[in-house]
């Protein structure tokens, strides 16, 4: 590992470090934006810093980082504040207010730049995907190593962000999940909110030059949204988001090299790909996991229906064999029931006997418990709800699959006496 890093071309190394710093900072800030359903405020702020930058340039006459930073933070805060004021006092839906504010500010910024600073070249390409490759060459020595200027700026931004998140962890957590509780506890939710927005603006402008605005927006949203699918704990969400950010940087730069494409654009695409993987394969909230759980539940219900059917058949005691086809049809038919029957036979709960199906000893035990739960629920309904007898079966049919031992004990206390089948055996 160490050798790989040492053997790496320094430019490649610094590109990856720069992008990784952008991604981790964005992921940390994005965690709170995504949780608070404010992802788009990050997008809005990253566009709306433009007039702040233009004004700072007009007033100071330089492109030094400090005036730029101040201008951007002011414009970012203005965006958040105006959005809130228009939403609150002019009764405009929040998303529309945001759309009005950030597009107007962006338009203002473009006009200001064209009017006043027409000598400054506003190359859309540079704005959107930055000048990462040349920025990595603009180095200065730090502790005897040539370090790109942007990497230093971004490292400082990351350090400030990490310190902010660490220092205000508790406050951010409460404000994210329950702003009203935060207010009653004496935490100034508004102040935390605007501090976060100022940091987003600062991050935007620090990352802007290197990677362009598009990766900034992607990183404020994608890693956090990915992590949100993978965990329910805030600290894990932040850590997973950061890890996703680093992975995005490494994969993004290497895939971009293969296709000779801009790193910032490719990193956004990679971030989207990682998110898609999470959407599909997340252990709990992933689509595959949910489909599998659904399938498993369906199979269990079909199997239990078959068991119950066989039990009632044997209980009737006509001696005739239960035909497999009839049983499958009664349990819903189709591939699902057939698979359920196959699983029951493999588990040794049902067996073929002659021309029909029968329950094995262990199958009989399982089935009797099931039918017990069914009739328990029927008896409970009959006792507590004025339902006609022929309306008891179908709710009990659903309930028998979901009654856990706790509920069963409670119902047994309510319906103490033993009971027979309701009406005709079903």
């Amino acid at each position: 590992m160490m050798q790989t890093v040492l053997a790496m071309d320094p430019i490649v190394f610094w590109i990856i470090v720069t992008v990784a710093l952008v991604n981790v900072t964005g992921a940390l800030l994005g965690t709170f934006l995504v949780l608070r359903r404010m992802s788009l405020l990050g997008d809005a702020i990253s566009h709306a810093v433009l007039p702040g930058l233009a004004l700072a340039f007009m007033l100071s006459g330089t492109r030094e980082p400090l005036p730029m930073l101040i201008g951007a933070m002011a414009a970012g805060l203005l965006t958040a504040l105006l959005t809130h004021l228009i939403h609150r006092y002019a009764n405009v839906p929040e998303d529309a207010a945001m759309g009005v504010v950030f597009t107007s500010l962006f338009a203002l910024g473009v006009v200001m730049i064209t009017r006043v600073a027409s000598q400054v070249d506003l190359d859309p390409g540079c704005v959107l995907y930055g000048v990462l490759e040349s920025a990595a060459l603009d180095t200065r020595p730090l502790f005897g190593i040539e370090v790109p200027r942007v990497a230093v700026t971004l490292a400082v931004t990351f350090a400030v962000t990490a310190a902010f998140v660490a220092a205000l962890w508790k406050e951010l957590k409460i404000v994210s999940f329950d702003p009203h509780l935060a207010t009653t506890l004496g935490i100034n939710a508004d102040r935390v909110h605007y501090l976060l927005m100022a940091l987003v603006a600062a991050f935007t402008v620090a990352a802007f030059e290197a990677v362009g605005s598009i990766l900034v927006v992607a990183m404020l949203i994608a890693p956090a949204a990915t992590a949100f699918l993978l965990t329910d704990r805030l600290h894990w969400m932040a850590l997973i988001a950061c890890a996703t950010g680093i992975l995005t940087a490494i994969l993004g730069r290497n895939i971009a090299a293969v296709f000779d494409a801009p790193v910032a654009g490719m990193a956004s695409v990679v971030a989207g790909g990682l998110f898609l993987l999470a959407v599909l394969f997340a252990p709990r909230y992933g689509i595959v996991a949910r489909k599998l759980a659904h399938l498993r539940l369906g199979l269990r219900i079909s199997g239990e229906d078959l068991l119950g059917l066989a039990y009632r058949w044997q209980e009737r005691g006509t001696g005739a064999p239960l035909s497999a086809r009839g049983a499958l049809e009664a349990a819903g038919g189709g591939a699902g029931s057939r698979l359920a029957l196959w699983l029951l036979r493999r588990a040794g709960l049902m067996a073929k006997s002659g021309r029909g199906l029968r329950l094995t000893a262990s199958g009989l035990e399982r089935a009797s418990k099931l039918v017990h739960r069914h009739r328990l629920w029927e008896a409970y309904l009959a006792r507590h709800l004025p339902l006609p007898d022929d309306h008891l079966h179908s709710p009990a049919d659903r309930m028998e699959h979901f009654m856990d031992s706790d509920l069963q004990r409670q119902v047994e206390e309510q319906v103490p006496e033993p009971h027979g089948p309701s009406g005709a055996p079903r």
């Binding site: 995504v34 009005v100 597009t103 949100f228």
Partner: protein, 470 residues
Amino acid sequence: MSGPAPWLAILALAAAQALLFAAVGANRVLEWVQTACASAGLPYNTVMVLAGSGLLGVSSAVIGSYAVLRRRSLIGDAVAHAAPPGIALAYLIARERNFFLLLLGALVSGVLGAAVIAWLRQSTRTRQDAAIGLVLSVFFGLGIVLTSAVQRDPTGAHAGLEGFLLGKTAGLVSQDLLLIAVTSANILILVWLFQKEFLLLSFDPGFAAVQRWPVQALDVLMMTLLVAATVIGLPAVGVVLMAAMLIIPGVAARFWTDRLSRLLPLAGAFGLASAGAGTYFSSVSEGMPTGPVIVLTAAAVCLFSMFAAPRRGIAAGILKRIRMRERVARQNLLRTMYELAEEAPDSAASLEEVAARRGWRAAEALRLLRRAERRGELRRTPDGRWALTEHGLQKALEVVRAHRLWELYLVEQASIAADHVDRDADELEHILPPEMVLQLESRLRSEGRWPEDRVPASVHPIESAAGEAR
């Protein structure tokens, strides 16, 4: 949903246009326009630019208004950002700058982006804001990757795809403008055909579903129209600012009216005005980009509406609050004068007494007293004190009656202690509707507790602001 008629109308519309353009060709249509312009003495190029951008302004404003109403404003932003990969792919496939194909590519990837947002919102844990942001940045990132592939292509260096980022009406030829104008016109016709359906979809989709309207299909249609408006706007105003064309006119129009039938034309007019003004300003001043100027014009209209609109505007709200405060002060003064007269029927009240009773500063009390005198509710006695006139007494009776009735009601019905009701009644008496006062009266009368022709006595000792009971 009135049967399949609107859907058939769409088909007929599409077929008629396809036939027209196949039979005569776009160039012939343009020639006709050119001849018409020449005979009317109008500059052909200006007419084309204004027609294209104007119709674009109207159609995006109208379809965008629905998005604003349905809290989907920023989906337009995401769709605009989702278009570039389609544009670049269309170029890579066609290998030439065919405007129609580029926009078709943009339409396909825009619709795909909108579909992904809907899918993420419905079937995953991702919320709408994150879904919009994801589609926006990831599709756009893909667009950058594909555009860089186009630019490496020897023929692609001058494909002019960057024009889509910030928009440039000057770069559009008349065939492009014709396509924009025709598409905009189609969007408007479809909105007109489906106005009833879109109205219900915007305000009560649940009811529409219960009526067995094809809500899903209508939703897809509306979304497709939004994407179409976005896509034709890209070459004129660019990716970033297209959202503004969709959102701002609708937001501005919303301040002026509560009716969709008025909101849509108004939003269309705002869209038209800002598109026209923006196009004009950017054409007269050198190097000024069209899109930002259009958006700033629209923003100015929106800002004006926000402050000046008669009912929902901020100025109207402030004015309403001031009027309310004046009314409350006036009624409080009348009641105070009545109470003072009730205690000492023979002597008029002094300025100090009035001020002390209400806790007003002397200057404030004097201002209110003088104003009431001008209204003829009070008169000044020769010794400089103040008394109710006959007219003022009538007004004061109304106010006191409402106040005491409400106090009685609170004591009797809401079982609030007598010494707590004054403050509550104080707040409510000014906004009690007359019907409510009558209702309270008749209730007391039916219980035989209504003092005929008189104001009911106060349920508590009347206190001055200083606190001592009288």
